[in-house]
């Protein structure tokens, strides 16, 4: 028994030792934005169907995760729903990584409430005040007398950062804002909460009968605009022209100029097939006349 066990261990050890020179797999790693992960996965799936020799590995975790991985050198492509910061580019340069920016799609960030909530539209200032804690009751914005339960994303999310910079004007979120790990968790939470409010990529909220996507007005004077057309499709014009005030780009950052299979993949994403998938996933494809 003892001799056989020793032999088994020796064989296992030898096999393990032989494995060490095997490099980590030759594939394209994509990490980052949770907003973009459905898009990223579908891109990867469709592309791999046509190009079976390429393996694309998609991970979510938030735009912050993706950019951090890019800086740490653990990924080649990073999805992000917020622009990369100058200090992040600096840090990447310190690790000898030049970040190249690609705008691959656009997104109208939706603000949602429960379908049971009579409130229909808000101004940007009102949304900002709700999330910073200055407005805490729905009756202050024309709704029922109920405490507003705020749902947000985690701080690693590009959506979180974008929202903080553009809607909260760099102020802090209120302390009692619940942080959910993904936009679908936000959607689920708000759909179960009649006094809830949440935000995230519109694709996660469209077609959910329990949610109501609020119309947002840029200020008191403008009319409230919805990111959706009356028939339920996404309003591309409103997003391209930024009349819908919370419109943003969805980025793919590459570690260095893309070469070979990575370049082919990025070209495909920016081409008609990739953009068609953007439409299918209910994000906004890049406007045809912009580079």
């Amino acid at each position: 028994m003892q001799r056989r066990t020793t032999a088994a261990i020796a064989v296992a050890g030898l096999t393990a030792a032989l494995a060490w020179p095997v490099l980590a797999a030759n594939n394209i790693t994509v990490k980052g934005s949770d907003t973009m992960v459905i898009l990223g996965q579908r891109w990867a799936e469709e592309y791999m169907k046509k190009h079976a020799e390429v393996a694309i590995q998609v991970t979510g975790g938030g735009s912050g995760t993706g950019i951090a991985a890019l800086i740490n050198g653990t990924t080649i492509l990073a999805n992000s729903s917020r622009p990369i910061k100058p200090e992040e580019i600096e840090q990447a340069k310190k690790n000898r990584i030049d970040v190249v920016v690609f705008r691959t799609a656009m997104d109208g960030l939706g603000v949602v409430a429960s379908a049971d909530n009579p409130v229909d539209h808000l101004t940007m200032t009102q949304v900002g005040k709700i999330y910073t804690g200055y407005i805490s009751n729905w009756k202050q914005v024309g709704g029922p007398d109920k405490r507003i339960i705020r749902y947000s994303r985690e701080s690693n999310s590009g959506t979180y950062v974008f929202f903080k910079e553009h809607v909260l004007m760099n102020r802090d979120y209120a302390a009692d804002v619940q942080t959910m790990p993904g936009t679908s968790a936000v959607a689920e939470a708000v759909s179960r909460d009649p006094s809830g409010i949440g935000y995230g990529g519109v694709a996660y909220f469209a077609n959910n009968p329990k949610l109501k996507i609020l119309k947002i007005a840029k200020d008191e004077k403008s009319g409230p605009i919805s990111p959706l057309l009356p028939d339920g499709r996404i309003n591309y014009e409103a997003v391209w022209s930024q009349t819908y005030p919370i419109a943003r780009y969805l980025y793919v950052y590459s570690a260095g100029q893309p070469q070979g299979p990575v370049k082919a993949y990025l070209d495909w994403i920016l081409g008609p097939e990739g953009q068609e998938i953007v439409e299918k996933i209910e994000y906004v494809p890049m406007p045809a006349n912009k580079p």
């Binding site: 200055y134 701080s155 690693n156 760099n170 302390a175 009692d176 619940q178 939470a189 179960r192």
Partner: protein, 314 residues
């Protein structure tokens, strides 16, 4: 003794010391790991103090909308003005761990007493394995159960405004620590010598009086140890609180509000920060604090257990 035996014994003695040395090195592995954990956590965490003043870990002052300076206790490490107060995180951890330990102590100790003193052999053979099976359920499964079923159930029952709050997390954590407390209580009480029970009966005590006034006090150190271990476990639980507490970093003493524990903060944010950055180091500092707290609690439990052993002369 033949001539050949002497060289063999010398060879085997040399081999013996080598083996003993090898085994001794392994014996230290637990000590080594604990030391390494502390060193590497502390090494990263202490660097956070290079860029973040110590006072900021408690609170910072900020101008509000009307330019009035306010004391702010927030954990919002991402933004133009990052805030690193750990007070909301500690409050969150306590707000989950303390109710969980209280509830679990009641159920766990009672169950342990039942198993050790009251249950018949057949009942014991059903309940003890059931508790061990409960102990074996992965915490992510319990977290999933809280998220999918328990949260809605409790909200319908208690009409709370936050569906995901500290109490949901506490009930989930209970599932984890009740087996710990129950089986340790059971062990502690079974170690109490029968003479004490027999003496009590001889003096006319009924079963409950024997339990309450003789057996439990005799096994008190073991009970205290089990409760301390349960508390330590509750403070260290990650997945359940990550999924069930709503993760809102606020300083509150209302268990029906959403809270954010130290463990959930680390779990949610560590994967997203560039290594060596300020937030990364702050998270390691939170980890060091967490490690120190649970280490101290476990040490206290050790002391209680050794006192119990000494008192029962084991």
């Amino acid at each position: 003794m033949t001539a050949g035996a002497v060289p063999r014994r010398r060879r085997s003695r040399w081999g013996e010391s080598l083996i003993e040395l090898f085994l001794r090195l392994n014996g230290f592995i637990a000590i080594a790991i604990i030391t390494l954990i502390f060193v590497f956590l502390f090494k990263e965490g202490i660097q956070a103090l290079r860029t973040i003043p110590v006072a900021h870990f408690l609170s910072t002052t900020e101008l509000d909308f009307d330019s009035v300076p306010q004391t702010v206790r927030m954990w919002q490490p991402v933004g133009t003005n990052p805030k690193y107060s750990i007070l909301p995180l500690i409050a969150g951890s306590l707000l989950v761990a303390i109710p969980a330990t209280l509830i679990a102590t009641f159920f766990g100790v009672a169950c342990g007493i039942y198993l050790a003193e009251v249950a018949g052999k057949r009942t014991r053979e059903i309940i003890k394995p059931a508790i061990e099976l409960l102990a074996g359920v992965p915490s992510v499964v319990i977290g999933f159960f809280c998220l999918a079923t328990l949260a809605t159930f409790l909200q319908d029952l208690l009409h709370t405004s936050f569906r995901l709050n500290a109490i949901v997390g506490a009930v989930g954590v209970c599932f984890v620590i009740v087996p710990v407390i129950a089986s340790m209580t059971d062990d502690a009480l079974r170690a109490v010598p029968d003479e004490l029970r027999e003496g009590a009966h001889a003096l006319g005590a009924n079963r409950w009086e024997t339990i309450a006034r003789v057996v439990v006090p005799a096994g008190a150190s073991g009970l205290i140890a089990s409760i301390l271990l349960g508390l330590g476990r509750a403070l260290g639980e990650t997945m359940i609180v990550l999924m069930a507490t709503g993760n809102a970093a606020q300083v509150t003493w209302n268990p029906f509000e959403s809270v954010r524990t130290m463990t959930a903060t680390i779990a949610a944010e560590l994967g997203a920060v560039p290594q060596g950055g300020e937030q990364y180091r702050a998270l390691f500092l939170v980890g060091t604090i967490l490690f120190t707290i649970t280490f101290a609690i476990n040490l206290a439990a050790e002391v209680a257990v050794s006192r119990m052993r000494r008192r029962l002369a084991l």
